[in-house]
């Protein structure tokens, strides 16, 4: 313990890894201040531009952290509660990109819905701050704080569309169920503390290494409750019940962020705690994750088939994707972690792009999200339809898209860990899921357009965002090596000191 405090006395080293957190949170607070003081003189696009700049600034500040993690190896700072490793930097970069892209999508949306104002962007950045904290927390309390910061902001974001009852309803639903999940998580933390005597992942890992706690009821119950909490955040079956309703009710750009950002943060925390913290007792939690993965894959892809609302289809498909990512988690190997990171990055691109298209198509009031609204989109807006098709095919895991390599990596990790049957089930679920993406493609390309359909305008922000994610999807679909290497270098390992 002494060494921890000894290290905590060196503040000039410790601030560096915290800069991304500070920049993201600071940008949110400063934006709120600027707009409340000088709001009337600022152009309408100012909050969006500010948020994009903040996201890019976080990207820039992540670089020195990455270099430091690379040079000194993974280590922890601030009394061992914040991890400095490639894994956390990868997620931070991913979240920053998510914030930038979501801000671009939100811009046109708020204007269309007459919801202009800074609140949306402030909450977005605050939520991302929570996500960044979750991704780098090596202490369960810090992790919980991150999760709450992330969640509280998202609860409000979901209910942000003031004139839509569905949005309000979704907000309440998400809040009540989310509060339950947080309670589970907190109780789990308490039980794990009781079993291992530590709240710090390094301490927990040490306790598990030196003592055989594999049949300790307290620890097992604690781990189970933690899984419930994380399972809720990443929308894994059976903790998924909120997903379709909330995705359908929430403003479409918020769903972009939820599917890409919140899921990434949830999986980051899950991996940190279970792979790095509970790695010693992987045999105990792997079967449970195995079950969650199969349930998510099956329910996600099968339930999506009977939906008629695009947002609900994509909600169920996000559950199925969570199942796929859990396949990588279940492997409990470094390759598995790398595959999860790659999958999260690829999925973030597809999810943001897909919901950006939904945002554009849904029209005033954010109501036009039925499959019928996409009918004949190819003849009305050929480029938009083509972009959406690329993103959907990527979700289906068709070659020469990033989504293919995401599935490829996850399946490789599963096969390498000798989980053949899980790999087989995952691929079968992918085929079922392909059907629902095809349904959307059929609607866009093969169905005749509705002659009364209003003319679609595509604001510049979403257009830029969609272009970026489509290029990302295709570029890394054809040559995935750089991203694969990055994911493999983003080593997740916790230790107190640099080596």
């Amino acid at each position: 313990m002494l060494s921890i405090f000894a290290q905590a006395d060196i503040p000039d080293i410790q601030w560096l890894p915290l800069i991304p957190h500070v920049v993201m949170a600071g940008a949110a607070v400063v934006l709120l201040t600027i707009v409340s003081v000088a709001g009337r003189w600022l152009p309408r696009w100012f909050p969006a531009a500010w948020t994009v700049a903040a996201g890019l600034a976080v990207l820039a500040t992540a670089i020195p952290v990455w270099i430091r993690a690379w040079q000194e190896g993974p280590h922890s700072v601030v009394a061992g509660s914040i991890g400095v490793d490639g894994f956390s930097v990868f997620i931070i970069v991913l979240l920053a990109c998510t914030v930038v892209l979501t801000a671009l999508v939100v811009d046109g949306f708020l204007h269309r819905e007459s919801l202009d104002g800074p609140a949306f962007y402030v909450l977005l950045m605050l939520s991302a701050t929570g996500g960044i904290t979750m991704a780098s927390a090596n202490n369960l309390i810090v992790l919980f704080l991150g999760l709450e910061i992330l969640s509280l902001a998202v609860y409000v974001l979901v209910a942000m569309h003031l004139r839509r009852a569905e949005s309000q309803e979704a907000g309440i639903k998400y809040f009540v169920l989310g509060a339950f999940a947080s309670a589970f998580l907190l109780y789990g933390i308490a039980l794990v503390y009781g079993a291992t005597g530590s709240l710090n992942l390094i301490g927990i890992e040490g306790a598990l290494r030196t003592n055989d706690l594999s049949d300790n009821g307290l620890l097992l119950a604690g781990m189970a409750m933690l899984l419930v909490g994380f399972g809720f955040k990443v929308a894994a079956v059976p903790f998924h019940a909120w997903t379709p309703d909330v995705y359908q009710g929430a403003p479409s750009p918020v769903v972009s962020y939820m599917a890409a950002g919140v899921k990434a943060a949830g999986f980051a925390a899950l991996l940190r705690v279970f792979f790095a913290g509970f790695g010693e007792v992987a045999d105990e939690w792997q079967p449970v994750v195995f079950g969650l993965a199969i349930a998510s894959l099956a329910v996600g892809s099968l339930m999506a088939i009977v939906q008629t609302d695009v947002k609900r289809i994509l909600a169920y498909s996000s559950i199925s994707h969570a199942g796929f990512i859990l396949v990588g988690v279940q492997a409990a190997t470094h390759d598995g972690v790398a595959s999860v990171l790659f999958y999260l990055a690829a999925y973030a691109a597809m999810a943001i792009g897909s919901f950006a298209v939904v945002t554009v198509v849904s029209g005033p009031g954010d109501e036009g999200t039925a499959l019928d609204n996409l009918r004949g989109l190819a003849s009305r807006r050929p480029l938009l339809a083509a972009a959406f098709t690329v993103l959907l095919l990527s979700q289906a895991g068709i070659p020469f898209t990033a989504g293919f390599w995401a599935k490829f990596e996850v399946i490789t990790a599963a096969v390498d860990a000798r989980s053949f049957w899980l790999a087989v089930i995952a691929m079968l679920a992918a085929v079922v899921a392909a059907f629902l993406y095809l349904r959307i493609v059929v609607a866009m390309f093969l169905d005749a357009p509705d002659p009364d359909a209003p003319r679609l305008t595509i604001p510049r922000g979403p257009a830029v965002a969609i272009t970026i994610v489509v290029l990302f999807t295709l570029a890394f679909g054809i040559y995935p090596e750089p991203l694969l290497n990055l994911a493999e270098d983003a080593l997740l390992s916790i230790s107190l000191t640099a080596h």
Partner: protein, 530 residues
């Protein structure tokens, strides 16, 4: 980076054409077709050059190119051609320009030509890939152009057919991906370097070291994917729908080229990578092949829709090819390979002819057509030749292939060959009967005025009929190029597994007369090689 660059040029030339078409302004839509024809014809010319430059005495891969692509995952850009893939590449190169010339799309010409050319790149990539992942990528990606071709330009029930086609094929290949990864990861443990690789040749060389049971499971995952694509009974149900609903060019490519992706895969990735498992499961597969021959023939006889009849005839013909491949001897495999080309030519031509009739009569119902011979004598004459080739009439290409297959199968599994031979008779039954109903008789008012083939359609049929006759009379150039590769494959299997391929002493070296002497030798060789 090393080796010949001709294969990448062949693979990507159609893609370049597709990109060029994408850039053509809508106001200049009249140049769409010329560009598509020119690109695919240039690709076809290159494949013909490839055939001429091919060293016929070399059983190994030629024109290979190997360069690292995704190094960390052991995936490389590795292409090459041997006697097994050569003629499928040529077939692809020949059929695409003909299909593009023959049929004009009723709407959205630009997208139509783009998808066709993308499809050609995908098909060529499948035949030329020597890396498992690269192969898989091409194998999967061909689904998308075909999906859109069926879905956008197909007949009434096109959405259903397109989706069914996509999902069936994807289901098969989903498991193949798991099998592929398992194979590569297990082979890594046995390899000297300890590095993962998806290089086909390296994996084949370590093929004998896999545990037998594991290899059999992995083989099954591959075989299922190919069985769906071929399609082998009972996973053939997507085929009649897809073929019938597809636009004419789509049917031609689907039957002519895409079905061969499956049979080619069985040879290249089934036999080559899993010699023991192939032999272990051979009885299952050739039995299914024989069932397919009979089932396809019987169901084809019952069809009222001419296009559907041709589609079911494919099930029967592909059954023959599977029977030949899983005889696992030189005659059978060569016959199977030759029959792949033959089926591509004759069924491709049949779909074209059915398409021509449909464009004139706007129906595919056999009962609504009568006496077309009087109205369209040239069409009828061409149809006769093509149909007889499909039946397997001596002197036309179908006979040579079926004969070799039956010869190989007879040596390996006599009674299956006997039953399969009955399929030849059934083929004559359903095709001749269909011909009789459609072309003979006195035409009624609707059929009397049907125009004959125009010059463009005649132009397309000339090379097809020419090849059908040429390969029937003189198949030697094809067989002698296949032979070294097939012999090498058999030797590889024998060496890995230590079995002796069932064979006859006198191998056919190609010419028709030599084939005839083969029959005479059966009596003296009976009882050997079992």
């Amino acid at each position: 980076m090393g080796g010949s660059t001709v294969l990448p040029v062949i693979i990507f030339l159609p893609l370049v054409g597709a990109a060029a078409i994408a850039l053509i302004a809508p106001s200049r839509s009249m140049v769409l077709k010329p560009v598509a024809v020119a690109t695919s014809a240039a690709t076809g010319a290159l494949t013909l050059w490839l055939m001429a430059a091919f060293d016929k005495n070399d059983g190994d891969f030629q024109f290979t190119q190997l360069t690292e692509w995704i190094g960390s995952a052991g995936i490389s850009w590795h292409v090459g051609v041997d006697g097994i893939s050569l003629f499928l590449v040529v077939l692809t190169g020949v059929l695409f320009p003909l299909a593009i010339v023959a049929c004009d799309p009723p709407h959205d010409a630009k997208a139509y030509y783009i998808w066709l050319l993308v499809l050609e790149t995908g098909c060529l990539g499948v035949f030329l890939s020597l890396d498992l992942v690269l192969f898989f990528l091409f194998f999967e990606v061909v689904l998308i152009p075909m999906y859109f071709l069926i879905g956008s330009w197909g007949h009434d029930n096109r959405k259903y057919a397109a989706t069914k086609f996509f999902l069936f094929t994807m289901l098969g290949s989903a498991l193949m991906l798991v099998g592929m990864l398992t194979l590569a990861l297990l082979a890594k443990d046995y390899s000297d370097t300890g590095e993962i690789t998806f290089n086909l040749i390296e994996l084949a060389n370590s093929a004998g070291e896999l545990p037998t049971i594991t290899a059999r499971w992995i083989f099954l995952s591959f075989a299922l994917a190919f069985a769906v694509k071929v399609p082998i009974f009972p996973v053939h149900t997507w085929l009649p729908d897809a073929h019938t609903e597809a636009p004419t060019a789509g049917s031609v490519i689907l039957a002519g080229v895409m079905l061969k992706l499956g049979t080619y895969g069985l040879v290249r990735f089934g036999l080559y990578l899993f010699p023991e498992a192939s032999r272990y499961f051979a009885p299952l597969l050739f039995t299914l092949g024989v069932i397919g021959i009979l089932y396809g023939a019987v169901v084809a006889t019952m069809q009222r829709d001419l296009k559907r009849l041709v589609a079911y005839s494919s099930v029967a013909h592909l059954g023959f090819i599977v029977l030949g491949i899983f005889s696992i001897n030189t005659e059978g495999i060569e016959g199977g390979l030759l029959q792949m080309v033959n089926h591509g030519l004759s069924t491709g031509a049949l779909f074209l002819l059915v398409g021509f009739i449909y464009e004139r009569r706007h129906t595919r119902q056999i009962s609504e057509m009568i006496g077309l011979q009087k109205a369209a004598p040239v069409l009828a004459a061409v149809f006769t030749v093509v149909m007889l080739s499909s039946v397997g009439l001596p002197g036309l290409n179908g006979f040579v292939g079926e004969f070799l297959i039956l010869a190989g199968a007879f040596v390996a599994h006599r009674w299956w060959a006997v039953v399969a031979a009955a399929g030849v008779i059934l083929a004559a039954l359903y095709l001749l009967w269909a011909y009789q109903r459609v072309f003979h008789g006195t035409p009624d008012d609707a059929n009397r005025s049907m125009p004959d083939l125009n010059w463009q359609e005649k132009l397309v049929m000339v090379p097809l009929v020419g090849l059908i006759v040429f390969l029937g009379v003189y198949p030697k150039p094809v067989i002698e190029r296949m032979e070294p590769a097939v012999t090498a494959l058999i030797e590889h299997m024998e060496q890995v597994e230590g079995f002796e391929s069932p064979t006859v002493d006198n191998r056919p070296t190609g010419s028709f007369n030599e084939l005839r002497t083969l029959t005479d030798d059966y009596g003296s060789d009976e009882g050997e090689g079992h």
